[in-house]
């Protein structure tokens, strides 16, 4: 690797790989038991129903086995006793960056968040370990009744909207990690968009892990009322620690009649993060939910965004890009549950496996017999870079009844030596050649991301490729 490349990487990698000394007022300590849950409830002054919800979550978590009968054995390496489940400085989220403590403010400035907010966002929430440090929505949106706060504030200040849907899209017992999140959730966003309000600029949340041996369990609930629209974007980073870090979020979306939700994720976790996330939305009549998901980094990511197509003519879409570099495992996919006539779902998944990286696609499409006029399209394409790479596809498409249209395509391609020779013969270094080929592979999906994010995406891929050539 030449000096230019080296220095370019040095600068860029340090972007997410830095940490400030901990100065937590509240630390739930190592391990998880009912005292931990009470500690979190006490610190957060939870209402009783939330405390009960947490304890139910803990019991469910303890009763469920690790899903290693189908998922990676690597999950057994998570040591739940060596993780801290709640860390915060005890301050309420600030509405102005000037009021945010210097170290936290500097963290988000280095990640470019305030700048993006000024440029193109309608609102921002910035979470640092367990709690939001900053949360603000543009005044005009507030006047229209748009709510964008963290989950703690949501459940306290807006219980009448929050509570009916909380834990309904994804029940506590959905899986072991949704139960874990239910026990110790903190932070994440609560968004409500009133009837007919179309939020023209994206709302963004940024989840930052600063502390070692820590688990981040944000909980997001987005309710978009009839005919309303919103785009939500989330980004995530953590520094490179020696020990494993756990990130286990639950995200629930509710799109009422005719509503549209677009949920965009660009995550770039460091390679020691166990990233185990449950994401699902309910789309009512004529509603549309789109998950646009980009997974880079982490030790293992397990994430299968889903849409329950509950109302007639509802539409669901999952567009995902996963990049598994050396030693990483991206286990991602989509779930589409058709529960009404004339519902449509579309899944497009592209994965890239580099070196010893491994990509797995798991899809579930369910269309029951009594329905009519449902459509599903599933495409999964895998790109392998060098012979150690591994890719597996498990599409489960269950279609009963005759009056449906489904289509499934899968492909596996390689950035082979011939292609690299061709690209290098035109003067590109091996890393440049690979990054060009990878960017080409995901090009049609990258267009789905907002400009600012697709630029970031391209840059992240270039970095990953530089790193993989060494």
């Amino acid at each position: 690797m030449d000096a230019t490349t080296q220095s370019a990487i040095g600068v860029d990698q340090s972007k997410g790989d830095f940490t400030f000394p901990e100065r937590h007022k509240f630390d739930a300590g190592y391990g998880l038991n009912s005292d931990t849950v009470d500690y979190i409830s006490d610190v957060k002054s939870d209402p009783d129903w939330v405390r009960a919800f947490r304890h139910h979550g803990l019991k469910t978590f303890e009763s469920k086995p690790m899903p290693t009968h189908w998922a990676s054995e690597d999950l057994n390496n998570i040591d739940f006793d060596k993780i801290r489940y709640y860390l915060s400085d005890g301050q309420a989220p600030k509405r102005s960056w000037d009021d945010v403590p210097d170290d936290v403010k500097e963290t988000f400035e280095r990640l470019g968040i305030p700048e993006q907010e000024r440029k193109f966002l309608a609102g921002v929430e910035a979470q640092y370990d367990s709690e939001a440090a900053y949360s603000n929505v543009k005044e005009a949106l507030g006047k229209e009744g748009v709510i964008f706060v963290n989950s703690t504030e949501g459940l306290k200040e807006h219980e009448e909207i929050f509570r009916p849907w909380f834990g309904k899209v994804i029940p506590t017992g959905d899986n072991k990690f949704s139960a874990l999140n239910s026990a110790c959730f903190s932070g994440g966003s609560f968004i409500y968009v009133p009837k007919g309000v179309k939020v023209s600029h994206p709302l963004q949340a940024y989840f930052r892990i600063n502390s070692e041996n820590f688990g981040q369990f944000e909980r997001t609930l987005i309710i978009v009322d009839e005919g309303a629209e919103v785009t939500y974007m989330e980004g995530c980073t953590a520094p490179k620690f020696e020990t494993a870090t756990l990130h286990s979020a639950v995200v629930e979306l509710v799109a009422m009649k005719g509503a549209k939700i677009q949920y965009i994720t660009v995550q770039n976790w460091s390679s020691n993060v166990f990233n185990l996330v449950t994401k699902r939305g309910i789309a009512h009549e004529d509603a549309e939910i789109r998950w646009i998901d980009c997974n880079i980094g982490s030790r293992i990511t397990m994430k299968y965004p889903g849409v329950v197509l509950k109302g007639e003519r509802a539409r669901g879409e999952v567009i995902s890009i996963a990049l598994a570099n050396d030693g990483q495992h991206q286990d991602t996919g989509a779930k589409m549950i058709h529960a009404a006539n004339n519902t449509t779902s579309n899944v497009v998944s592209k994965s890239i496996s580099v070196g010893t990286g491994r990509s797995t696609y798991r899809g579930q499409v369910h269309i029951p017999k009594h329905l009519k006029g449902c459509k599903n399209n599933t495409e999964c394409d895998a790109l392998l870079i060098n012979s150690n790479s591994q890719t597996d596809t498990y599409p489960a498409i269950t279609v009963n009844g005759n009056d449906h249209v489904t289509q499934h395509e899968a492909s596996v391609s390689q950035v082979g030596e011939d292609m690299l020779f061709y690209l290098q013969q035109r003067g590109l270094s091996e890393a440049e050649a690979m990054s060009l080929a990878v960017n080409g592979f995901i090009n049609d999906l990258a267009k789905e991301f907002p400009m600012e994010y697709s630029v970031e995406l391209k840059r992240l891929i270039e970095l990953e490729m530089e790193g993989s050539v060494g």
Binding site: F421, G427, L436
Partner: protein, 246 residues
């Protein structure tokens, strides 16, 4: 100033393919190599470009006095070696314009940037010269291209990258007469005192449009005969056997 290949021996998986090739292409000249299948013509072009499947066991390749054998493929390219592929690769999702831009950018000094306006002006002019439609620039590199379009695209890349020495590996194969004329036009416009050419071909017909200074015949990993343009005509008439015997 010339591209000098001396006593070049190379093998793949233990089998010797090039058995002492000697060749000198001065700038400003066009050399053609003809020869039967399996004589080592394409191997020679790949080895000049630096393909790592082949092991060079002896000899050297000097590009204007610089030995390029220790250079990586991309370094050789930036040093001025261009290879027009017999079978150009498809690069899905990467537009021709972006590909060429990346290739041009790879030749810049650190801190320099491509002037996008000047780049597109240059690109569109050269595409027009090769009778290529403007929308071609936004299509993915070679994806879904006909054989003729792929070859034309190789010539476009050569025009854009302005190499010191261009090796064209059977660029004329499978072309209809119109495409052959366009390809020849591209070569002829690049034929200056600043540049040398090596054309690998099976057929004399390309040489009707691009007059070679020297024609070489290659057989069994060696250059066995060299002559002027008339050698190609002779070859067409008598075939390789006649020539090799004579």
């Amino acid at each position: 100033m010339s591209l000098i290949i001396s006593d070049l021996r190379a093998s793949i998986d233990g089998t010797e393919i090039l058995k002492g090739v000697n060749l000198e292409i001065p700038k400003g000249e066009v050399h053609a190599i003809m020869g039967p299948n399996g004589s080592g013509k394409s191997t020679l072009s790949k080895i000049i470009a630096g393909h790592e499947d082949y092991e060079v066991t002896s000899g050297e390749i000097l590009l204007d006095g610089v030995n390029i054998l220790d250079m990586e493929v991309d370094e050789r390219s930036r040093e001025g070696v261009f290879l027009a592929f017999q079978y150009p690769m498809e690069v899905p999702g990467v537009s021709n314009a972006n590909f060429l831009r990346a290739a041009k950018a790879a030749r810049l000094e650190e801190g320099q940037e491509i002037d996008a306006v000047a780049f597109y002006k240059d690109l569109y002019e050269k595409m027009a010269f090769l009778d290529m439609k403007k929308e071609f620039s936004s299509r993915s590199v070679n994806e879904g291209f006909s054989g003729g379009e792929k070859k034309r695209n190789e010539i476009l890349q050569m025009l854009m990258l302005e190499p010191k020495y261009a090796i064209l590996d059977e660029t004329d194969s499978g072309l209809d007469i119109d495409a052959l004329k366009v390809v020849s036009k591209g070569i002829n416009v690049m034929r200056t005192t600043e540049r040398g050419f090596l054309l690998i071909t099976h057929y004399q017909r390309l040489l009707n449009y691009v007059q070679p200074n020297v024609v070489h015949i290659m057989a069994d990993g060696q250059i066995v005969k060299s002559g002027d343009a008339s050698l190609a005509l002779e070859l067409e008439e008598k075939g390789y056997d006649g020539n090799l015997a004579g």
